[in-house]
Subunit: 821 residues, 2 copies
């Protein structure tokens, strides 16, 4: 039995060269403690980040004095650090316990003989990480490629903390997770594991295992119980063999775990009890789900499929990439995690990819994903660099880290994939000219990790990298792909429409954060598009230039800074919508779209759909629509438009469809109404309308178009350019809407709408007289809205729900924010 | 002896399906004739180009009735077309003479037996080129890659006429060069050739050859005379062997031909006289120069050098790429050519590359280059496509074309290189995945052309392609290179500074044309940055987006459309300046900078330095400075600035140097004055100033900078950012100036200058109170200015010379054209 005595809470800390102890907090970090002491300004405000850069060379000491009440009986007393960030020497009562060197793993020390009843002094000496890794790099026989900080591959620390193209350089230092005394008596159950071997004939075959450490030779017995909602479905007493237990169960009519949108997230309770002469000496309870995950990789005429299958059902993955939710990790709460995952669920997502430049997340993250059906693509923490795995110490760190991660996380049914790294194999091939090397990280991704995953977790597949598959790891015909031609490669948004990737694990488009968020990190003089502070809060080099490049390409010039902010969000949402709708219409030739990125680690212009303060950007609202289980999609093709019905539902359904055509100045030109049928988990073509059907009258209008490599004037039909086609699909009383216009907004002549609204408590009801695009409700109060950035059909009512009273509201749409310059 | 009777002038023409003959002109083309008849609007105005697209499917007939006065004696009568564009059947008096299929060669027909004294009818039936080539393409066994028009590789016609990223799609049709009757009597001298075999011990060993065709068996004698400025330097009577003559001469103390800036452009007169029993039966006079050109390609520690050497002197090539000067070629006059080449000379250029997507230029072009010392890099006319050289008919066309080109042009000393094509070998390697194929054009570039050049022109080197050299034909370490990462690849301008190419045969940066030129093709409603007409007059896809991307990156937002126009020019000039100065400072590791592009073929936003109407853009004025034989160059390096003295002079010289440092608000901070020495044809380091020397006081100022892959706030010295360093170098009483600022203009706090001026006849004299950048004098009248876009030192006088009275003038500088948005 283990008993834990927390050492969290107030500690003292000081800079190594100083004599003044300050009050600090554990879990915590130097930067948060210094902020709390008003020794540095908020690093997120303006360019205060630089103050933290100046701290990087310093060394720090954390210290805790505590008394310890010895229990009557015990076998071992351990001091456990769940996370030390990163290079630190640990002393208890002056005795050296060891040196921590990996932020991702826990460190525990046997202090049975060192701990005292009174006045224990625990001290942790943090080295300067920056100095340390640059020294290792200088002395290294290797020369490693790496972005952002050349020496970061030498340290097992969240790589994003050295700066990324969406994150500041804030090199966190501190005891970032719990610290406690662990008192063990008799025995302890460790490394529990529950997993589904197979589903067959309506039954689930599951297995429960664990390691048992014990201090006596007594006859120990282990009992394993599996129950669902309080009802026992299986119980066994199992022998302990060489300190291991392993029990197989058959569970009839199992309640399976399904991703969001596919089925329920049923979870089972597993209890392992150790008894010694009928006395319980340890008990461990945990939760898991019954589900089988397969990665379907089958050769086809394009290349090789890449489809997640859960319990025999092919799943189109819909979601985004997750990064650490703060540059200072200790301040992320369990509630934060649940809020984030709820936001993902509400946006009809079913997968998040935990990206390899961050951290193995907190339990709460995975618990929330288990509960809400968000599948997790879990990277190991290697990103955008070559790693020194020729060196034995690094191999050992990598192996021990992988094992600990597996032991900690493998019971989460939400995790559906282990993935070796982020972009390093693509880097070998495309950036650094390494081909497919033996080392430089590849030994970890291709030897160490797959072996460990195979041995300790047969319950989910392993994948070498993201992206991977094909000779070029970023192949379009095999495996997953990071599509960055659009945005980073500056290519036009329409390139999405010709992309035939099998699975998009990254693609993205930047926008500014919410206006209220911008107010939080700027002062009055900073509020212009190219001010130093605004530029500094877009970490991508030439990020602002891209925001403008795409805005003027699609929309035109913004009227002012606030218009700019709003239009970047609209542009982002429209761009990602274009990609997702195209790829979903290829289901399952393409089998997933995870856009970069879900969240932010600070207030910044980035690719996220939710900003640091969890304020929703246009992309978030759009996601709920384009990720919905039913998506009416209008594609411009074959000299007209084709309407597709994309269904992620698991059964065929009837759908009532309305197709409405309006001129942009509000005249209803025609409408069609009909019933149709959507096929389960498939795409059907619902209708095609020739351009002449859409706009009968031909009013010739010369416009410049992108011809083969150059711009040519071409005659188009002005009646068509002046039209918008809406589709509205009703399935089971739920309404799904979409729209289509016949050119970029920049080339259309939008009519400024008259949008009327009234506020009814926490409801805002809107209506427009002419087609209105990107209709944004700007609330005085900082409320969460159920929807926003609407594309409104004339004379329809749209109701937005507010989390609380909105206060005064202002309404914009894109027509009044664009400047003809 | 040949006697020519011109058939130029007024012809009749009609569309094939019409019965109405209209009046046309030869040389000329359908489009010019239709414009002259007011049947179409000016294709350069607004988007009128589209009217010409509609003509492409039509067929046309040109017709000339003429009488012919038979001479008393003759041996042969030929009908000669110097240029037929392109597919046409030719009839004389109803008899079919042949079909033309190559615009680049002349066609001649023996009409001795067909021609009549009265009422000859000459008819030329032009097929629709577009229909014809698409039909060939459809039936072709090959599938060829090609931009702009997929079928264009099948026709030997100027490839740019199908549209390019700086040119409209205007598919010229017509008799574009002279038409005449050639009457031959007795004999004719053909294919004369003068070339320098070697220079040795102060003498030139030259050779004269020619072909002689004759109709009688009489004893013909040939006499060759070489003279300089009326004085005979060599004369020989030479035998005619199998219809060929060949004579070697040694010329003592020859007056060599040198490029502009290196020496004089001495030209010799060569006369070949045929006599038959002391009667002159033919005489041919032409002009050429004595010079030896070598392309020095020597292995070194970087790769392989690529240096033009003229008469033993290494030349740093300074210039630009030349494209056809009009979409309608017949209207370019000899005077136009001389004006253009004079402009190149005045901008201190010494080389133009005649680009392979245009035409083999008019004699006048090469004559002007001979006279003004502009070396010509002459491409063969293949560009950005795969060509069907597996087909025998294409091989034959290519060979006959090459021979005719050589016979016509090889006597021009200005031509220093034959080059197989533009970008096709790079295309094989980088765009189309062909590696280094046997055909697809390579058979022409690697077999046909080098063999023909070797046989018919030993006087200059042959180079396979531009770019070429190295495994990757666009290698940085060997051969010539097209650097398009900046601009087309969207990379930041500063990438120029890390480029180590051996010879830049292309790199470029767009700008808008002159404001007066914009007025010419727009009406009032078109005058905004993203109007359809403005977009249509930037033929590069996303060209406008790039103009804005780089403007906001370097300068910020423009205040209005006119500011935009002006700022694009300033930005272009600064960007190319940055590249050229860097590459010149690497002399001769880099041995040439030809920027894309010298001129335009219509009024357009493009990479040119002179617009279609020969109006000078900022880049033109800058070229005169950064291509000057003496260039003081300030490089930011080693924690300060280094001043280099780059000299293309052929002797060491004394230089007086002033280095002046001003704050941007006009205070003189310090100055240094000293004498130094520039080494002939070399680069010397003149001075280095540490940042602390430049700005003694340190005022910390946090600014965002591009760190390794992300943007970080960094502390810089505000005093430094607020400074400008000028260098002024006086050599032989000529003043050379340059300047350096310590960040992008976007990040500097410019003071609006008070610029005073007075006009004295055709002189404008300017002065400023604070450092002023891009000072632009906008004249009411359309005058040519000696200089403009000045970067002015406070309290100095700058005098601009106008070609005529300037009228009212307005003065801008960049500080009052940028908008904080």
């Amino acid at each position: 039995m283990e008993n834990r005595i927390s050492l969290n809470g107030t500690w003292q800390f000081r800079e190594a060269t100083s004599y003044d102890w300050l009050e600090g907090k554990v879990p915590g970090c130097i930067q948060l403690d210094l902020m709390a002491q008003n020794k540095i300004g908020d690093p997120f405000y303006r360019m205060n980040e630089i103050e933290c850069h100046k701290l990087e060379d310093k060394e720090w000491i954390y210290r805790k004095e505590f008394d310890f009440e010895f229990p009557d009986e015990f076998d071992e007393i351990k001091l456990v650090f769940e996370g030390i960030d990163t290079l630190a020497d640990i002393y208890l009562n002056g005795d050296y316990l060891g040196t921590a060197e990996n932020m991702f793993i826990s460190y525990e020390y046997d202090v049975t003989d060192l701990i005292k009843e009174k006045n224990n002094v625990l001290e942790v000496y943090f080295q300067s990480i920056t100095k340390a890794i640059r020294s290792i790099e200088r002395d290294s026989p290797l020369k490693l490629e790496s972005s952002f900080e050349s020496a970061r591959p030498y340290i097992r620390k969240a790589q994003y903390s050295f700066g990324w193209d969406w994150g500041p350089r804030l090199v966190q230092v501190g005891l970032w997770r719990d610290v406690y005394i662990s008192v063990i008596k008799d025995a302890a159950i460790e490394k529990p594991f529950f997993y589904t071997e197979k589903l067959k004939d309506g039954a689930a075959y599951v297995r429960v295992s664990a390691s048992i450490s014990y201090f006596a030779d007594f006859d120990l017995k282990a009992e394993v119980t599996i129950s669902y909602d309080g009802e026992v479905c299986g119980r066994k007493v199992v022998p302990i063999t060489y300190g291991e237990i392993d029990a197989a169960f058959k569970i009839d009519e199992p309640k399976l775990w399904y991703p969001n949108g596919v089925g329920s997230q049923n979870l089972y309770d597993i209890c392992i009890k150790l008894t010694m002469a009928d006395v319980v000496v340890d008990e461990l309870n945990f939760r898991s789900g019954i589900r089988v995950v397969k990665l379907l990789r089958e050769k086809d005429d394009i290349g090789e499929s890449f489809i997640f299958e859960i319990n025999g059902i092919k799943i189109f993955a819909k979601g985004a990439d997750w990064i650490p939710a703060d540059s200072f990790l200790p301040r992320i709460t369990k509630e934060d995690y649940y809020t984030f995952i709820k936001l993902a669920k509400d946006a009809n997502m079913n997968m998040l990819r935990v990206w390899g430049g961050g951290i193995y997340e907190d339990e709460a993250f995975y618990d929330a994903c288990d509960e809400m059906g968000i599948m997790v693509w879990q990277d190991f923490m290697y990103a955008c660099a070559q790693y020194p795995d020729q060196l034995e110490w690094f191999q050992q760190l990598a192996a021990s880290e992988a094992k600990e991660v597996l032991f900690r996380l493998r019971n989460h049914p939400s995790i559906v994939l282990w993935c070796g790294n982020n972009e390093n194999n693509m880097g070998f091939y495309s950036w650094w000219g390494n081909g497919d090397p033996k080392y430089l990280g590849n030994y970890v991704y291709k030897e160490i990790l797959p072996q460990i995953c195979k041995r300790y977790d047969p319950s989910r597949p392993y994948w070498v990298s993201s992206p991977y598959g094909g000779v070029d790891p970023n192949s379009e015909s095999e495996g997953d792909r990071h599509h960055w031609n659009v945005w980073s490669g500056w290519a036009d948004i329409k390139e999405y429409l010709s992309d035939e990737s099998r699975f998009l694990s990254e693609f993205g488009f930047q926008s500014m954060p919410d206006w209220k968020t911008i107010l939080s990190y700027t002062n009055e003089e900073d509020r212009s598009i190219l001010s130093p502070v605004v530029v500094s809060h877009n970490k991508q080099i030439s990020g602002m230039e891209r925001l403008i490049r795409y805005m003027i390409s699609e929309l035109g010039f913004p009227k002012d800074f606030k218009s700019f902010v709003y239009l970047t969000q609209f542009n982002q949402a429209e761009a990602i919508k274009k990609g997702v709708e195209h790829w979903r219409s290829r289901k399952f030739k393409t089998a997933g779209t995870l856009y970069w990125q879900f969240n932010d680690c600070w207030p910044v212009a980035s690719w996220s759909c939710i900003d640091y303060y969890k304020r929703k950007k246009a992309l978030y609202y759009y996601s709920g629509r384009f990720f919905a289980n039913v998506l009416p999609y209008i594609a411009g093709e074959d000299g007209g438009i084709t309407i597709y019905g994309i269904s992620d539902l698991q059964q065929d359904v009837e759908a009532y469809v309305e197709v409405l055509c309006y001129s942009l100045d509000g005249e209803k030109m025609w409408e069609k109404k009909f019933n149709t049928r959507l096929i389960a988990n498939d795409v059907v073509k619902i209708a095609h309308y020739d351009e002449r059907q859409i706009a009968e009258e031909h009013v010739p209008h010369v416009v410049p178009v992108d011809a083969s490599h150059c711009t040519l004037p071409v005659e188009k039909n002005w009646k068509l350019l002046n039209s918008v086609v809406y589709v509205r699909m009703i399935v089971d009383e739920k309404i799904y809407e979409n729209y289509y216009v016949f050119d970029k907004f920049r080339n259309l002549k939008l009519t400024e709408p008259n949008i009327t609204y009234h506020v009814d408590g926490t409801d805002i009801i809107l209506s427009t007289d002419v087609p209105a695009f990107g209709v944004f409700v700007d609330t005085e109060n900082d409320v969460s809205l159920s929807d926003n950035f609407l594309n409104m059909i004339p004379d329809e009512k749209y109701t937005l729900k507010c989390s609380k009273e909105p206060g005064d509201i202002k309404i914009f749409d894109i027509s009044n924010l664009i400047l003809r310059m």
